[in-house]
Chain length 364, copies 2
């Protein structure tokens, strides 16, 4: 938990407690060593090289990113092993940028269609070093990815297009759905789907030595049988959703939005200056309202506009006075971080640094 | 309506049709002249000086902004009449920055408490020119603002603190709520609350010559009786919510997200690369899903992750092939614009410019 907010901080701002952050990174690294899986953390959560450096120092084998733009930022900061875990359609400018990346880092890509795989192969053809490919598998989230049984067709198209097929990956996003108990089911689904897909690749004479799975909610739960790599992102900071899902406690919150009470229009209601342009508007069925207030755990942010958060207090709770500084954990920390230029880094409530969100807005 | 997306555009990107944009600006300016109200458009929507310049050229008397940071950006671009329509708590660094602004532009502020008004007065005390204040009134949105009957107490505190009290303002945000029919009711509520509040100020011996109201949904509807200034923002671009509310038609969309089909996992379903990090995650009860697709008006974005939009098509609709470029109007354009570094400016489907979202992330 953020020990306390820095005195006199200009709000709204996103504040990181670096001790909690480093504890979260160490704990996930330990889970990886204990569970026998490599960690390739998702950098979309933080978009921030000093955090990626801490993940690398703790043993991460590389980074996962979502876009070519994010890969370019981290490549520019000396990160040399990058997985763009997104089924890119690599035409035009994206093809040229992928080719350039393939010349400078160990690049891993993915596809969930034979056509997509051929596009990727064409984009990076002739690069000095091999470009790896994992086939994306749908393990139950029903977003992108092929059914395990269809993995071989995509893998063969990729291999024919000159890519170095190494295995399979999935995002068990349904671990965020259908209630907190979904986590264990999603972890089982992930294991089964990836195992099946890897077997399909091997049966087609392709390699399947990388079996890459999930996410912060499922990381600690999987029967890690076949899965040998995990890509959690949110765990570095945690957020209101992870608390609600039970994958962390409020003590594990390394990031909060610092807010000021700007209006006290009614006895049970006050307004903070942390609106949707700092917290994001992500909602989930497991979190009541638009964020979690560690100092008012029973309060609820009932409405969020761009620069206002309306907080309703339980009966009998004393409203904080105008000008008070209050911490709010966002519902989805990845969205919040992408809304600010920098993170305010604190230790024991003192500001010790400011870190640029270097890959902010690197959407393409 | 965006006539067509530029060929070969790297996606995701936010694309503006400058002809539609200029038409929207001209139409609102005409409504102001016809209705006898001044326009002080809200720049939080676009955060973009070339658009503010067009609003000024069309007759806007000044700009509205939400934060000191936005005011600083527009002041730096030569905009000299700025209303920060937010009940700032002006301590520390914010007090210093407000004082600096007060020396360089005609500054208008607001408060919804006597304490807040005194803080503002203390912050700008001794500035060369008078700083105006409008009392914020709650006209039914129940966010910030005082009841009309309490306007005089805030106004008197502001006047005693040396501010130039000029009148009242409200945001009739409930015009976005309770179904499209709420617009007319919100416009009536606004008129009544502001009239009452202005009378309260006058009865206390204070000026009330500025009666400043609403928003894009209510702008065209108000019986503009007492209201003599409006602050719409969204109208420059429009969005899926405005279409659903009936305050514009799809032809008035000046901004869309350009997306690429990256996955076609099922016959009735495809995935676009415009996720929540470009569209925002704002939802309203009046819009089904996470955006409006002008070329597939009956389709629905049923799920949105950070870099994926899952589109479900009505039965019998042909899925667009992988690599197709598709336009998506965001649910809430203010959130979307704040997620990108620049807008791609087009005319007849050709890129003619790129405009920086200069006040992006100016949250404080």
């Amino acid at each position: 938990m953020i020990s306390r907010l820095p005195e006199g901080l200009t709000t709204p701002a996103l504040v990181v407690d670096v001790d909690v952050l480093e504890g979260n990174i160490a704990r996930m690294a330990e889970a990886g060593r204990g569970g026998g899986f490599a960690l390739r953390p998702h950098a979309k959560t933080h978009k921030c090289p000093p955090i990626a450096e801490r993940q690398r120092a703790a043993g991460a084998v590389g980074l996962t990113v979502a876009t070519i733009g994010e890969a370019e930022v981290f490549a520019g900061q000396g990160f040399t092993d990058l997985f763009i875990a997104y089924p890119l359609w690599a035409d035009g400018d994206k093809a040229r940028r992928l080719r350039r990346l393939a010349e400078t880092v160990s690049l891993r890509l993915t596809a969930d269609s034979a056509d997509g795989a051929r596009q990727l192969g064409a984009a990076v053809r002739g690069a000095d070093r091999p470009v790896e490919l994992l086939v994306e598998i749908d393990s139950g989230h029903h977003r992108t990815g092929v059914a395990p049984v269809d993995a071989a067709a995509v893998g063969k198209a990729a291999a024919d297009a000159g890519l170095d097929v190494r295995g399979v990956f999935t995002f068990p996003g349904h671990g965020y759905g259908y209630g907190p108990q979904a986590r264990a089911q999603a972890a089982r689904d992930e294991e089964r789907a990836l195992t099946e897909a890897a077997e399909a690749l091997r049966a087609a004479g392709l390699a399947a030595d990388v079996i890459s799975g999930g996410s912060t909610p499922t990381a600690a739960l999987a029967d890690q049988g076949a899965v040998n790599e995990l890509r959690p992102g949110v765990y570095v900071f945690n957020d209101a959703t992870q608390i609600a899902l039970g994958s962390c406690t409020p003590d594990d919150l390394a990031l909060v939005a610092a807010a000021t009470v700007v209006s006290t229009p009614a006895p049970d209601r006050f307004v903070l200056d942390t609106g949707s342009k700092v917290l994001g508007t992500d909602v989930t069925p497991w979190v009541t309202g638009h964020g979690y207030l560690p100092d008012f755990p029973d309060a609820s942010i009932t409405a969020l506009s761009e620069h206002h958060a309306t907080v309703v207090l339980p009966e009998g709770t004393k409203t904080p006075p105008l000008g008070s500084r209050i911490a709010v954990a966002p519902n989805h920390v990845c969205s919040a971080v992408n809304l600010v230029d920098e993170l305010v880094i604190t230790r024991q409530g003192e500001i010790v640094d400011r870190w640029a969100v270097a890959a902010r807005g690197a959407n393409a």
